[in-house]
Amino acid sequence: MKSLIQKLTETFSPSGYEQEIREVVRAEVEPFADEVRIDPLGSLIVRKGKVGKNGKRIMLAGHMDEIGLIASHIDENGFIRFSGIGGLVAHTLLGGRVHFVNGVSGVIGGERIMDVGKTLPVTQLFIDVGASSPKDCPVKIGDVASFDRPFFDMGHRMVAKSMDDRIGCAVMIESLRSLKSSPNELYFTFTTQEEVGLRGAVASAFGIDPELGLSLDVTGTGDTPKSRKMDVKLGDGPAIKIKDGGMLSDPRVVQWMINTAEKEKIPYQREILEAGTTDATVIQLTHAGVPAGCLSIPCRYVHSPSEMVDTNDVENAIKLLIALISAPIRL
């Protein structure tokens, strides 16, 4: 499992440029799938099974994309100005390293800091790839990059860029591999463009037209010094989402998830996330409406280059997901 997570998190694929991660995921899932297709916005849709007795058509969604940067101007000295793709946290950028999808690496520098108490906004940062003019700059306007940080295994904790949401992808892949049988028609959907507004999932949910939707994504925690108040901790189990910034989970879905976790004696936490949301939000509003929920993996330092998850939480998320999708579901 850890080698899979390493492989997924060390792949560079910001929103809209998921080609590379799609190939990595595809290679992992193909032997276990009944059907694999790519939809018009690039989401990888992996079908397993057919609707059987008391079964449902279920969409599981974990997003393949990660936050990143896009070059907006190469200045006369070869420095690259950029905008964010997704929610960059400006104070985690300065001094970081980035990797362009075209293979070029660079470091993030900033204009002179006039007030040390203030974070430089993205507009005052630039990327230095060692060029000295637009002509010798190997990056052009519109080229995209993501953070460059290797995966780091601490034993019971793991740290990497893009745990959001490669960890959700890993949970889906591991569950698909270990799934024995199911009465449900399962669509393991590795979505695109989540970080820029859940765009890939809007399209794939319309195409799949599911009867039940579940996203697999990270959630924040409230367990670090002077953090925001949030009753989710690393290591206390996967979180069952009740509400976030964009969705009220269907209460029947929440209850089904809680009942299953208790029956299987899998630790879980009840999640209320104040800001942020997941693909489930748009799945819920597809066609005439879809009961939806989210199985979250607690994650510290979300949207920084070093996102941390707990190994037991990940293993328990896999166990819970398998239990959820293996049996008939009555909401």
């Binding site: 929103s15 809209g16 440029y17 998921e18 080609q19 939809d39 018009p40 916005l41 690039g42 989401s43 896009i70 070059a71 907006s72 101007h73 200045d75 006369e76 100005r81 950029f82 905008s83 793709i85 507009t123 052009k140 306007i141 519109g142 463009q193 820029v196 507004g197 765009r199 890939g200 809007v202 399209a203 794939s204 319309f206 195409g207």
Partner: protein, 355 residues
């Protein structure tokens, strides 16, 4: 050598009619009429949908044709009369993104009859120095059409009163965003290619959230989409001679191809197709600086299971103000780029890698 760009008298007249038509979001009828009059000889059928989008299909004759949507919005930013204060004085609201600082002293046209009026402002003689430091909020502004009988009612539209002009290499007028795009679409319809089914949508309500495009895309369910819009050029030199790194686009450097804006990440295959076509045909182009903002592509690409989309814009200075400035060359090159691009779309286009 400077290449001169020629517009026929008819083309210039069409641009003038489009620019001067009144059509704030939700009230695009006049623009729709101008378009219909122009394209009627070239089409067998058209549809005005529930929201007012004008939808036109021109089928090709080749086998295995992709359905290709092209969209440009008919609506413009402007004003809506909100209340009658009597004596020809009206309160109003803005429709779409308008900078209130730019309103006092502007001439406007109001209602179906295009009645002239003015957004009044107290003259400099009667204002204090401190008043002149602050912007006048919209609530304090009024449109004055003069006393006497008039048919103006709350809900009527008003737009900037700006005569369209061609001045040397430039076009000056109101609503160039996106009547230039509308004119491009008209040219595409007149010369529709045989290798695709061209689905043209003249959309409504773009300026208030791309609402028309959303339903137009759902009706068409195309295989891919091109949005033709106008994007700001903030290309004047900096006051301190520092390098301008936030120009968005430059006037005169050709059609601006979008990679990413606030609402859409363009399909990489379509970006590549546009660039390659431009290079092959020696048509100048520029990449719009990736950043915020949005076009109709923002709602189109998420419809009906997903529609690979890209936007191409004609750069325009002073967008969303009383008078914008664009270049004839950018308009002509946008038409040329899109015509050539549409002609080069093969049925297997979507099978290639996205990279």
């Amino acid at each position: 050598m400077v290449k001169t760009f020629y517009l026929t008298k008819k083309q210039t007249t069409l641009l003038e009619k489009l620019s001067q038509a009144m059509g704030i979001s939700g009230n695009e009828g006049e623009v729709r009429s101008v378009i219909l009059e122009e394209i009627r000889p070239y089409i067998s059928d058209h549809q005005v949908d529930a929201l007012g989008n004008l939808l036109v299909t021109r089928q090709g004759s080749a086998n295995n044709r992709l359905k290709v949507m092209v969209a440009a919005h008919m609506d413009e930013v402007g004003f809506m009369i909100a209340a009658d204060d009597g004596e020809g004085i009206f309160r109003f609201e803005s429709v779409g993104g308008i900078d209130v600082r730019q309103l006092p002293g502007k001439s406007v046209l109001v209602g179906k009859d295009h009645l002239p009026g003015v957004i009044g402002a107290r003259p400099i003689h009667l204002t204090t120095a401190s008043e002149r430091q602050n912007k006048i909020p919209l609530e304090k502004l009024r449109i004055d059409v003069g006393p006497g009988k008039n048919p103006i009612k709350p809900g009527d539209q008003a737009v900037f009163n700006t005569n369209f002009r061609r001045v040397g290499p430039s076009l000056i007028g109101k609503a160039l965003d996106d009547r230039l795009g509308v004119a491009v679409l008209i040219e595409l319809i007149k010369d529709a290619p045989e290798n695709i089914d061209l689905q043209a949508a003249f959309t409504v309500q773009e300026e208030i959230g791309s609402r028309g495009a959303r339903v137009a895309a759902f009706s068409f369910k195309p295989d891919l989409a091109f949005v033709v819009d106008s994007t700001p050029a903030n290309d004047l030199p900096s006051w301190d001679d520092a390098e301008n790194v936030t120009y968005n686009t430059h006037l005169g450097e050709g059609p601006a191809i979008y990679v990413a804006d606030g609402a859409t990440l363009s399909d990489p295959r379509l970006i590549r197709l546009l660039k390659q076509t431009a290079e092959k045909e020696s048509i100048p182009f520029q990449l719009r600086q990736p950043g915020g903002g949005g076009t109709d592509a923002g709602t189109i690409h998420k419809q009906a299971g997903g529609i690979p989309s890209v936007s191409v814009s004609i750069p325009g200075r002073y967008s969303h103000t009383a008078a914008g400035v664009a270049r004839v060359s950018d308009y002509v090159n946008t038409v040329a780029l899109l015509k050539a691009t549409l002609r080069s779309i093969q049925p297997e286009f979507l099978a290639q890698e996205r990279k």
